[in-house]
Every structure is written in C-alpha cells, then in structure tokens.
Subunit: 222 residues, 2 copies
C-alpha cells in the first residue's frame, strides 16, 4: 500500500464532535470496520473484548446521560459502538473461558495448552500482579481493547469514515445501566470505551502533535 495514502488517512482522522445525521455507513463498510477489530491481536491471543452496537435511539439517549462527552456524538452517529472488557471471571489463567479458548478457538494440542497455561499463570502472578485485584486484571485487559480501538479508527479513516473515541463515564452509573438496559453481567464485563462512527458535519481544527524528535530517542551502535 502507498505510504502517502496511509498518512493521508492519519491526517483525515480526528475526534469528530458531530456527525451528519443524514449520512449512514453502509452495512458492508461497518462489517469491514468490525472485521479489523476481530482480527486485532491481544495478549496471548485471548481477545478480552465484546462489542455492543447501540443503534436504538432510546438507548443512546439513556446512555449519553452517564457519558462525559457524547452529547452531540451519540445522537448523530451512524453507528455507536461500546467496547466491553472481559474481567477476571474470564481472564484468570484457570478460568473456563481461557481453557475453552485454547481448545476450541486456538485449537492447540493438549501439551501446548498445559505449557501455555503455566506461562500465563506465571505472567499473571508476577508481572503485573494481575491476581492481586479485580482492578489490576481489568486494567490489563482494557489495554488490549485499545488495539481494536486504534485499528477501527484507522481503517475507518482509510475509507473516509469519521469516528470519535470516548472513555470518560460515570463508571458506577454506567455499570448500572449496562445491567438494567442491556442485561450485561457487570461482574464479568466492564465498559472500556465508546466509539462513534459516521460522517463529519464540519471540518476539524488543524492537528497538533509533538514533533518526532520530542517523542523518540535512538540508541545506535557507535
């Protein structure tokens, strides 16, 4: 692929504050965006995510009340996605989910499953102390969900679709709404972010970034 075209997509992408509510993303284009989320990598390949697509107007009106942003994005977005993260219930090394995942999805042979389980256990015990608290595990799993987040925003921009990521919520109220409105088991899932998609209503401000020298350091052979 052409580097110039790719960089143009990175310049095109911005946090779109308001969408043209008349313009809808085609089914095919949105399936394509979701497909890049599905193909995204994650730690040990365990895909600690689930995506809700909130198209019902009434639901958007309910949820926008507990979001920090989204006042304009929620109602005008062509598609509104909520990313849930799988909590310790799923992500503990000895969970049924992880064991089934290695057998059914990754189709690993039994000896490899045992080795991978041991490695994953040691990783969870020592590296981030993931077994110490529900929060530590959720935080680690949530990092993984930012990989499909980036991929969805980037590929959307590549086909001319705008997006806006939102990670600020009243967390307690959000959990409560996920349970009452969508039947989500919030002991097993937590909100990672909302991601709105559509077509921009106005052109964005110029992009600002630190320059490359400010964010990189090279350690080369003398």
């Amino acid at each position: 692929m052409k580097k110039k075209k790719i960089l143009e997509a990175f310049m095109f992408r911005h946090a779109c504050k308001e969408f043209d509510s008349e313009k809808k993303i085609s089914k095919e284009d949105f399936a394509f965006i979701l497909e890049t989320a599905r193909l995204s990598p994650s730690s040990f390949g365990f895909e600690p995510w689930h995506f809700l697509i909130i198209q019902k107007k009434e639901l958007r009106e309910t949820f926008v009340e507990v979001a920090w942003g989204g006042k304009k994005q929620f109602p005008t977005a062509s598609h509104l996605l909520f990313a849930l993260v799988k909590k310790a219930y799923f992500m503990r090394h000895n969970s049924e989910y992880i064991q089934n995942f290695m057998q059914e999805i990754q189709q690993l042979p039994q000896d490899i499953i045992e080795k991978k389980t041991d490695l994953f256990k040691t990783f969870q015990e020592s590296d981030f102390d993931l077994l110490e608290s529900e929060r530590a595990m959720t935080d680690w799993a949530t990092r993984q969900t930012y990989i499909p987040l980036a991929n969805m925003m980037t590929v959307a921009a590549m086909i001319g679709i705008d997006s806006c990521p939102m990670e600020g919520f009243d967390r307690k109220k959000m959990d409560s709404l996920l349970a009452t409105e969508l039947n989500i088991e919030t002991d097993k899932f937590s909100m990672a972010y909302a991601l709105a998609f559509g077509y921009r209503k106005e052109e964005p401000k110029a992009k600002t970034r630190q320059n490359i020298e400010a964010i990189t350091s090279w350690f080369e052979e003398d």
Copy 2:
C-alpha cells in the same frame, strides 16, 4: 483505499517470532511507521508516550534477559522499539507538562486551557480514581500507548513489514536496567511494551479468532 487490501494486511500481520536478520528496514519505511505513532490519538491529546529505538546489539543482549519473550526477536529484529509511558509526574492535571502541552503544543487560548484543565481534573478525580495511586495513573496512561502500538503494527503490515509486540517483563529488573543502561528516570517513565520490527524468517501458523457473532451484540430499533 481498497478494503480488500486493508484486510490482506490484517491477515499478513502476526506475532513474528523470528526475523531474517539479513534484511533491514529502510530508514524511510521506519520513519513512516514512527510517523503513524506520532499521529495517533490519546486521551485529551496529551500523548503520554516516548519511544526508544534500541539498535545497539549489546543493549538488546542486556534487555532480553528481563523479557519473558524476545529470545529470538530481540537479536534478529531490524528495529527494536521500547514504548515508555509517562507516569503521574507528567500526567497529573496540574503538572508542568500538561500546562505547557496545552500552551506550546496544542496552542490553546488561555480560557480554553482553564476549561480543559478543570475537565481533566474532574476526570482524573472521579472517573478512574486516577489520583488515588501511581499505579492507577500509569495503567490509564498505558492504555493510550496501545493506540500507537496497534497503528504501528497495522501500517507496518500494510507495507510488508512484520512485527512482534511484547508486554511481559520482570518489571523491577526492567526499571532498574532502564535507569542504569539508558538513563531513564523511572520515577517519571515506565515500560509499556517492546515492539520488534523486521522481515519474517518463516511463514506463520494460520490465524485463529472467535467469529464475529461471538464478539458482537446489536441493539437495533424494533
């Protein structure tokens, strides 16, 4: 851009275990990959990251000792990147970094700076309880670094370059090495991940993923 070509890049990308050490990424191609990291979005746009590019053989040999993986990737990679995350020292709402960032980089007028500072403070106080602990702040900032992680892997694949992300380390020893070997102030920065780049030596196994129905739920108008 063509959706088919983009999906081909997602199928091409895999966690490459060993690179062909004879093949080097051109300066131009690597600068392009870094440019997509630079243009990546982050919460409030505060870019809580710094990238080290570790090309010195001796350094790679030192650091691989504290990594869970990387035995083959570190020595054979054409380019080896470490992503550091900016800790509370930088990321607290009232830090010098944040204030300067809004003035110098984002070039916001004073009244907007004041509003944004208030909003950021409220966000940090209430949403993730980010001010409660150094760890909470670091975890939140680390999520952001997974956005350039995804973008770098994806765009590399789009130009035929392989990569391997690694997030498992002996964290205490890693901090200690960052300080002694690279003069990193580890009270201000923490290791987020390593990301190796190069050209594959062998073809990967077939990709496995849950199907799209397993990871999505739709809430549509009746």
